[in-house]
Amino acid sequence: MFKPMAKAEAIDPKKIARREAIRKGLFWACWGVFVGFAGILGASIVRFAYPRIVFEPSSIFKAGKPDDYKAGSVSLIHGRGVFVVRTEKGFYALSAKCTHLGCQPIWYEDQQVFKCPCHGARFDKEGINFAGPAPLPLPRFHLSLSPDGRLLVDKSINVGMDFFLEA
């Protein structure tokens, strides 16, 4: 025999409210997980772009024996971005990085001038800017003698314009 369906019982409003609360809770929990994961992913990718270790030349290095430099000479130390200048009085190390936008100036022996090939800044032998767009003189790095009698350049220490290592 066909049995008529029982009438739907009236659901307890408390139950409805509880289900609604669970539904909302799950909804926001899902969003929370999503946003949290996206945030963690984003933050880790930003951090990922900053390397812990960089394989770069040390800022402290030896630049040969003082006797290797002739009086009055300007020598570029390749790969280090430093000019070692030998005058009658002594030595000083100039940064080979133009103070305008970072290109490497070239020493012209015949004109006794540093010229930057990028935008034409000029520096004299002391590293002082006298023409072109460079706003500052070339920084001078700390120079000392290592115990084995070689020149020791420290690019992490900037010294004043009057600094030089006596020959």
């Binding site: 390397p51 960089v54 770069e56 970072g102």
Partner: protein, 206 residues
């Protein structure tokens, strides 16, 4: 519907479309250049020379890429000039003007990163200049005004992958030129076109 009056419809209305066309030419030729180009400091320049001199039609494909890029750089500002002079940035198209400015900046970034990939003297010192400018930019650069970030956390460091231009820099520029910026550019261009559609379609019946 906001139509531009018919009298203002001139050839200049096509400049945005031309920008898209040149962008598509770059998207089409770029992946093929990647078949022969390896972003390694020891061979990148030799690979470009190979593409120019040895690969069949290599110089043609590279020149299409290069010239399309150059013409895109001409077309995008020209398109913006047209939009500005016709006041087409006004409501309801204000948002699209801002999207357009972002597209312009991204286009310039494409240029800057692509210029660096051949790894010749021009590329190397060009990237040096760009990196130094980034280093001296406000807030983000360590040497700029209002700098808050130390030298090993600023925009210069993240760009170069260190403090000097070397292999990490080339890898980063390659990634930016081939994946990050074109992806952002294509996505924003889609949004740009959707906004045109939403504002009532193109400038009017041609």
């Amino acid at each position: 519907m906001k139509w531009v009056p018919l009298g203002l419809v001139r050839y200049t209305v096509c400049l945005g479309g031309l920008s898209v066309f040149f962008f598509l030419l770059c998207i089409l030729t770029g992946p093929f250049l990647m078949l022969y180009y390896v972003p390694d400091v020891n061979r990148a320049h030799a690979d470009v020379m190979d593409i120019m001199q040895v690969v069949p039609f290599g110089s043609f494909v590279r020149n299409v890429h290069r010239w399309a890029a150059c013409l895109m750089i001409v077309c995008v500002p020209a398109h913006m000039t047209r939009v500005f002079l016709q006041a087409a940035y006004k409501p309801p198209r204000q948002l699209n003007w801002l999207v357009g400015i972002t597209l312009l900046i991204l286009t310039y970034l494409m240029c800057f990163t692509g210029y660096m990939l051949p790894w010749d003297q021009e590329a190397y010192w060009g990237a040096t200049i760009g990196a130094t400018m980034a280093e001296n930019s406000p807030f983000l650069g360590a040497k700029g005004p209002f700098s808050v970030l130390p030298p090993d956390k600023d925009i210069h460091y993240i760009m170069l992958g260190g403090t000097v231009l070397d292999q990490p820099t080339l890898s980063r520029f390659f990634f930016a030129h081939c994946i990050a910026i074109p992806g952002a550019l294509a996505g924003l261009m889609g949004f740009h076109f959707f906004n045109i559609h939403r504002a009532g379609g193109m400038s009017g019946p041609l």
